[in-house]
């Protein structure tokens, strides 16, 4: 065995945010590794869009996402209050929340802030109905997005692969029929 694998260095980790339909918010799908955002978007398509439900993909470097959980906030209830704007220029941040225990991180909205912690503070005040269990904020400008032109090219091919849908196989109904037949035969024998 050669040592080729040890010569690799790990690429950047990108979070993948996936929108199933126009009327649904973007949700976290997972991550991919890639040397740049453009490649990350292509990888994200290969890894997360093998089924026909995608109209938009976003990728953002995982190390640019500021994350916080309810447990972390509860440990220091006054931490969030103590956060101050930093004097940096104001920019737009996306705000994502995990709203249910089982749920996925979901796009809630945008806020304008001077740094990530400040953005979290503003977002929790701006969206008081989102009493979630964990939150993410990250700069809007850090996101690379698929465009409407990409829909047909990137996501279209999955739409015609209907054999990936288990409903297109009739194995269960065949099995049930055979098992019923067997039961009838056994009851005749006894």
């Amino acid at each position: 065995m050669t040592d080729t694998h040890t010569r690799d260095t790990q690429w950047l980790r990108y979070m993948v945010l996936h929108q199933e339909r126009e009327d649904k918010p973007h949700q976290h799908a997972g991550t991919v590794h890639a040397p740049d955002a453009e490649m990350a978007l292509l990888n994200a398509r290969d890894v997360f869009v093998r089924r026909p439900e995608c109209v938009s993909l976003w990728v953002v470097r995982a190390d640019l996402i500021f994350t916080c959980t309810q447990e972390e906030l509860a440990l220091h209830p006054d931490w969030i209050e103590s956060l101050q704007p930093s004097g940096n220029p104001v920019e737009k941040y996306y705000f994502f929340a995990k709203l249910t225990q089982k749920g996925q991180f979901t796009h809630i909205g945008e806020v304008e802030a001077q740094n990530p912690t400040h953005a979290l503070k503003i977002a929790l005040q701006a969206y008081p109905d989102t009493h979630g269990f964990a939150w993410w904020v990250f700069p809007v400008k850090a996101v690379l997005k698929s465009t409407p032109d990409d829909i047909a090219v990137m996501f279209g091919p999955a739409a015609v692969k209907d054999f990936r849908d288990q409903a297109n196989f009739h194995a269960l109904s065949v099995l049930r029929k055979l098992m019923r037949k067997q039961e009838v035969e056994e009851s005749h024998e006894s």
Binding site: M1, T2, T4, H5, T6, R7, D8, T9, Q10, W11, R13, A29, G30, T31, H33, A34, P35, D36, M39, D46, V47, F48, R50, R51, A62, D63, L64, I65, F66, T67, C68, T69, E71, E72, L75, H76, W79, K98, Q101, K102, Q104, N115, P116, T117, F133, A134, W136, K161, F163, R164, Q166, F169, H170, A171, L172, V174, L175, L178, M179, Q182
Partner: protein, 320 residues
């Protein structure tokens, strides 16, 4: 808290308080998220399980990949390609879940390629005929779904979410396997014989997939205590036999276990003892295909080196 560089929030609780709080959260059915406090052993067990699971998906592409060029028609070929692609994707979902615990993808791949890491022993058995595509889909993926459905409820959020996604896709895998088995079992005598031979070879290794008996499984107690597993190896194995045995028999196939019978008193199918010597032998690396699988993985990784180098060179060129 991971991600952007900001001051971490200090946790001033004692270890005993942290553990009590953690176990109370699990008892309430809450999901633990990256950033939340967790015992080192919880993190260690999860990294072990999730990375093994990821490796299994990746190595699991090989036995079926061998039959892509030999599929009996175009539709079956498309289905098999789609299924193998799914396994590659599932490996990616799972490596991601392990990364949220602090493991790096590089470490995990190194562990796999150096032979240090384990993966499901089932993939060290050879695929000898097209019927094996049916047996793998129905038996192997069927067994995996039982395990994964349980893990979709596990206490660690990122693992549970990866599992929800995987389970949805695995159902297609099992269904296409059943479709192949039904077609062959109800086909010509030669097709039926080929299917029977395949069931004879895959039945016992599939039962071994659930792992050692509960009494011999060193990790079971702690995994159940912390909500990583909610059912034991033996419970899942029994559920698999109860579900699968009568369906295979309805197709006129036999199961290679003279002790197998329905026990009306327990309302379960009783089955014979597994050959544990065979199981441990394969786990230790002496199965029929262990060496072949590792060689194929290393070869694939080395063959991909120029692609990785080209991608890195492209980035360097256009970002500088």
């Amino acid at each position: 808290m991971y991600g952007a560089t900001v001051e971490p929030i200090e946790d001033i609780r004692t270890d005993a308080e942290k553990l009590a709080g953690f176990e109370a959260r699990i008892a309430r059915g809450e999901k633990i998220e990256p950033g939340d406090w967790m015992p080192d052993e919880y993190r260690r067990q999860l990294i072990r399980m999730i990375s093994q699971h990821a490796h299994s998906e990746v190595v699991g592409m090989l036995p079926e990949g061998a039959f892509i060029t030999r599929a009996p028609n175009l539709r079956r070929k498309l289905i098999l390609i789609a299924k193998v692609q799914d396994e590659a994707g599932h490996g990616q979902y799972l490596y991601h879940a392990a990364e949220t615990l602090g493991a790096t993808r590089e470490e995990m791949l190194d562990a796999l390629l150096s032979g240090k890491a384990k993966y499901s022993s089932i993939f060290n058995y050879p695929t000898l005929s097209w019927a094996d595509m049916g047996a793998i889909g129905w038996l192997v993926d069927g067994a995996a779904i039982l395990n994964q459905t349980m893990l979709a409820r596990c206490s660690y959020g990122p693992y549970a979410r990866a599992m929800v996604r995987i389970c949805a896709e695995e159902n297609f895998h099992r269904r296409q396997g059943q479709d192949i088995v039904i077609t062959l079992a109800l086909g010509t005598p030669e097709q039926k014989a080929m299917m029977q031979d395949s069931i004879n070879r895959w039945w016992w290794p599939t039962l071994m997939m659930f792992g050692p008996h509960d009494t011999d499984s060193s990790n079971s107690a702690v995994l159940i205590r912390w909500g990583i597993k909610t059912k034991t190896n033996d419970e899942l194995r029994q559920a698999f036999v109860d579900q699968t045995a009568p369906e295979l028999m309805a197709l006129g196939l036999t199961i290679p276990d003279p002790d197998l019978h329905y026990d009306a008193a327990t309302e379960h199918w009783h089955f014979g003892e597994i050959n544990w010597d065979e199981f441990w032998n394969v786990v230790k690396g002496n199965g029929p295909c262990n060496a072949e699988r590792m060689t194929a993985r290393r070869q694939a990784h080395e063959d991909g080196l120029w692609v990785r180098e080209a991608m890195a060179a492209y980035t360097e060129k256009y970002q500088s």
